[in-house]
């Protein structure tokens, strides 16, 4: 491996200048062809080597994560590695301790916040190819959170896409998902069952606003839980025009708001709740906090509250009741079942690896439709555990 000529940094500079990346755009979006048209693009199929840990596939599942042998780099490794390509800054995808990190330009700010000032982070524009030891790597919007990327990996005409977490619904806080054609698509399946179907975002925000109005009339504060990175900002962007007065935030949320605002995302005006004096009357106000704050002493300052949680899990009645919440708002940063199937079909991939969430039903569904699908035991968790209360290695004060 040490005979390979360049580190990641050199690769970025070298290739980035060479091509303004129009070639990459050829493949993405707008080419919703049937599966059968796929092989025309010159895929090298080696069905005998289909096992996910097989050395002969372009990407494989190693001990430390998804690994590209030829390019000697990992995608979203869960243990420290030499070179890590990062889909997005959620805790289960971006972990500390790796030598160098490559991420999207858009995601640089939040990744820096997560990894701290010491981490060696390089970023690239969307679709700008990077040569890593002869493997062509480019990042394409995943629409999950600010800067979230799908990693396109190309070698000798074979194209793989690792999508990380993604959604295809519009979200004002990040660049929309782009469909990337590929031979092998590595997909999440956090919500990989047909019971998960999302309503349009505006309906959810109407519900949130009605909930807040009712709470205000009852003299209660509304505490809205959403993951500190991504969901909280999506909520704040959605509430930006809602005219609901000052919104107070938890420290974990406020810290990431700065990154979003610095990236040019318009959020509702917020105030850091802990800046207010003891005994401050929060009745009638809206508070946005990470779900880890539920049941904590931090909540006490708000007095009489109604609690709500914005998450795809809230689609299921029992999931809300188990958390003893007053309200559940079905708002997810992951694909629902119909969008997941559409994305898989749209990529034209013949082989699909399913990495996290409810994997087996999706694998069976795709297999029954003639795809080579299999479940991968990746250590990513989807929405379940993506709650970076700790950012940059230090606990953020509430």
């Amino acid at each position: 491996m040490d005979s390979k000529p360049q580190g990641l940094g050199a690769g970025v500079k070298g290739i980035g200048k060479l091509c303004g990346a129009p070639w990459a755009r050829r493949l993405i979006w707008g080419c919703r062809k049937a599966f059968s048209s796929n092989r025309a693009e010159g895929a090298t199929y080696r069905p005998e080597n289909l096992r996910p840990d097989s050395v002969t596939t372009l990407l494989r599942l190693g001990d430390r994560g998804l690994y590209c042998e030829v390019g000697d780099f990992h995608i979203d490794p869960w243990q420290p590695v030499e070179r890590a390509v990062i889909t997005h800054a959620h805790g289960d995808h971006a972990r500390w301790g790796s030598g160098t990190y490559l991420c999207s330009r858009e995601g640089q700010g939040v990744l820096r916040t997560r990894l701290g000032t010491d981490a060696s982070i390089q970023s690239v524009d969307w679709a700008e190819p990077v040569d890593i030891n002869g493997v062509r790597v480019s990042l394409h919007p995943a629409g999950h959170i600010l800067g979230s990327a799908q990693i396109r990996v190309e070698h000798r005409g074979e194209v793989w896409v690792a999508s990380g977490d993604y959604k295809t619904d519009p979200d004002p806080t990040c660049t929309p998902f782009e469909l990337v054609r590929c031979h092998t698509f590595i997909t999440e399946s956090t919500f990989g069952l047909p019971i998960y179907r999302w309503c349009p975002e505006w309906q959810v925000f109407d519900d949130i606003r009605a909930w807040w109005t009712a709470n205000r009339h009852a003299g209660r504060a509304s505490v809205l839980f959403g993951y500190a990175l991504g969901k909280a900002q999506r909520l704040l962007a959605g509430l930006a025009g809602a005219d609901i007065g000052p919104i107070y935030t938890h420290g974990a949320v406020e810290r990431l708001n700065r990154d979003y605002r610095a990236a040019g995302v318009r959020l509702a005006d917020t105030r850091y709740a802990s800046d207010l004096p003891k005994g401050y009357d929060f009745s009638g106000s809206m508070i946005v906090a990470p779900p880890s704050a539920a049941g904590s002493t931090w909540l006490r300052r708000f007095g009489n509250v109604s609690t709500g949680f914005a998450s795809g899990w809230m689609r299921i009645r029992g999931a809300r009741r188990r958390r003893a919440l007053d309200r559940g708002f079905v708002l997810s940063d992951h694909v629902d079942w119909p969008s997941l199937l559409a994305a898989v079909e749209g990529t034209g991939a013949q082989r699909v690896w399913v990495t996290h969430g409810t994997r087996e039903p999706l694998v069976r569904w795709l297999t029954e439709r003639g795809l080579e699908a299999m479940a991968l035991r990746a250590q990513w968790k989807g929405e379940e555990d993506a709650d970076p209360v700790e950012v940059a290695g230090e606990e953020i004060p509430a």
Partner: protein
């Protein structure tokens, strides 16, 4: 239907008792009586009969959703509720109408019983296409017969009282027994004057709290009446218009189950209502409760079992005299009249509850110590000047059970056992009420017969709400009497108490989930003198 769906959503979305009552009261005061009648019926635990086998319903839903059976089953596993699974899988509604609740029930649900399978399917599918979100979920609950909303009857009564300004006691009385969900019945429920025609109607039972204070804090013992707390079936015997009705505390009409009580009651004057305990009794002494259960289990009561397990009614109280509600009179007055009425009936089956002479509290302590010898569960202490209240009210009546401690708890989780019983659910978690919510406080494994375990196992499989790994969250429906050796405060437990050596004493099939004890009962046990 939309309005009713909104009410259920509101009930579902708040944990606060007052908000639940307010939401129901608002509904009752504005809804069409024809709808409100059905709402009262469902909210107080009424459930439509299952009209279509669930397998058939599920098959239709799969076809409508374009989903194979294996995937439907995966979805069901993730949700644990058939009505919800179908609701979420079916395609979005094509059009929505806002026909009233009673129309959906009377025009769509009830006629299903007489329709062919083809016609049933057409009605179901059409309804799915017309209903969205919460309404579709409710519709599915209606047709699967699994309607449960998690409010107690007492809350419904409170809401009706709030909506009408009528006394809670009157509402509870009008609602007890058989209540038909008709608009006239709803109007009568909230009507100002009482022309209560239903001669069979029992009064709501007055229930005691476990004693919390030291006896000396109850004041002068002369102000209290002490009796044994018997361990039988609490019942009300009604004699009106020449007819007899025996109601159990579960509000079941059990007149036919206890012919000896029914015939003894025929000697009571018209317009008499007694509150008492049905006890298996032979040769002047009580038999174990298990004997009574043997008898309850029989479909047909032969001469043999009637001879082996005869019953008596230990009479505690007189609720109606000469057709007049006597509950507002002081206990001392009611007890005097009670003795007269029973003496007049000249029956060995009606036995006034023996009083324990109480000149000093030490006498009560002595009696309490002897309770087990008497085959009693403990003592009851009742304020002599107290009225007969409605439901569980603090202050007038206290129960003071003997050791071991016992409480009635609701089973909420079940888990498969080990070894020989690995295929059966034998490990149960039990909960008591805390402000309208069930809080788990004890796990128990032993105490049921193999037949009971098998029966319960089948029920658990059919009534799993949710699964977390091996643990099944089941519908809060079955009540068990748990015994334990000790109790102490424990901040580590959600309920705030920890109990020692809990075990199942018996399955209280005569009680409903809302009849189970509250966390206050458990807390009171901690301070109980022993």
């Amino acid at each position: 239907m939309k309005r009713f769906a909104r009410l259920l959503t509101e009930l579902d979305e708040t944990m606060r008792t007052n908000e639940k009552v307010d939401a129901m009261a608002a509904y009752f005061s504005t809804a069409d009586p024809a709808d409100a009648a059905w709402a009262v019926y469902f909210l107080s635990g009424g459930r439509p009969k299952r009209l279509i086998p669930v397998r058939r319903l599920a098959a239709w839903a799969m076809e409508e959703a374009g989903i194979p059976e294996w995937l439907f089953e995966d979805c069901y596993e993730a949700i644990g509720d058939l009505a919800e699974t179908m609701s979420l899988l079916l395609p979005d509604a094509e059009s929505t109408s806002d026909l009233p609740l009673h129309w959906w029930i009377e025009e769509r649900v009830l006629p299903l019983a007489k329709q062919s399978e083809g016609a049933q399917r057409a009605v179901i599918v059409e309804s799915w296409r017309e209903l969205a979100g919460a309404e579709r979920f409710i519709w599915n609950k209606l047709i699967t017969g699994g309607f449960r909303v998690g409010v107690s009857q007492q809350l419904v009564v409170r809401a009706l009282a709030k909506a009408s300004g009528i006394d809670e006691g009157a509402i509870a009385h009008r609602l007890s027994g058989h209540w038909e969900p008709r608009p006239e019945a709803f109007a009568a429920l909230l009507a100002a004057e009482t022309g209560d025609a239903d001669v069979s109607k029992p009064y709501p039972f007055y229930l005691a709290y476990a004693i919390e204070d030291e006896l000396d804090d109850l004041g002068d013992p002369a102000e209290w009446q002490a009796e044994w707390k018997w361990d039988g079936i609490r019942a009300q015997v009604i004699r009106r218009n020449g007819q007899t009705f025996v109601w159990s505390r579960g509000e079941e009409l059990v007149t036919d189950r206890f012919p000896e009580i029914a015939s003894a009651a025929a000697f009571l004057p018209d317009g008499t209502v007694l509150d008492g305990e049905i006890m298996p009794w032979k040769n002047g002494a009580p038999l174990p409760f298990a004997q009574l259960q043997r008898r309850i289990g029989r479909k047909v009561l032969g001469a043999k079992i009637l001879n082996e397990v005869p019953v008596v009614l230990i009479v505690y109280d007189l609720l109606e005299l000469d057709g007049r509600d006597a509950r507002g009179e002081p206990l001392s007055w009611r007890r005097e009249r009670l003795d007269e009425v029973i003496a007049g009936a000249r029956s060995t089956v009606l036995v006034p509850s023996p009083l324990i002479a109480l000149s000093a509290w030490s006498g009560a302590r002595d009696a309490h110590a002897r309770a087990r010898e008497m085959s009693a569960e403990g003592l009851m202490l009742k304020r002599r000047d107290g009225v007969y209240g409605v439901g569980r009210r603090k202050g007038g009546w206290w129960k003071w059970k003997v050791q071991p401690y016992t409480v009635d708890a609701v089973m909420i989780y079940a888990q498969a056992g080990h070894g020989r019983r690995a295929s059966l659910h034998t490990d149960y978690t039990f909960a008591v009420w805390d402000d309208g919510k069930l809080v788990p406080f004890a796990k128990a494994y032993s105490g049921l017969t193999d037949a009971e375990i098998r029966e319960l196992d089948g029920w658990i499989r059919r009534n799993t709400v949710e699964k977390f790994g091996p643990v099944r969250h089941v519908k809060p429906e079955h009540v068990f009497e748990l015994g334990f050796e000790g109790i102490q405060a424990s901040p580590r437990h959600k309920s705030g108490v920890a109990v020692r050596f809990p075990r199942i004493l018996r399955w209280r099939t005569d009680k409903r989930a809302e009849d189970a004890d509250t966390i206050a009962t458990l807390r009171a046990l901690m301070s109980q003198p022993s």
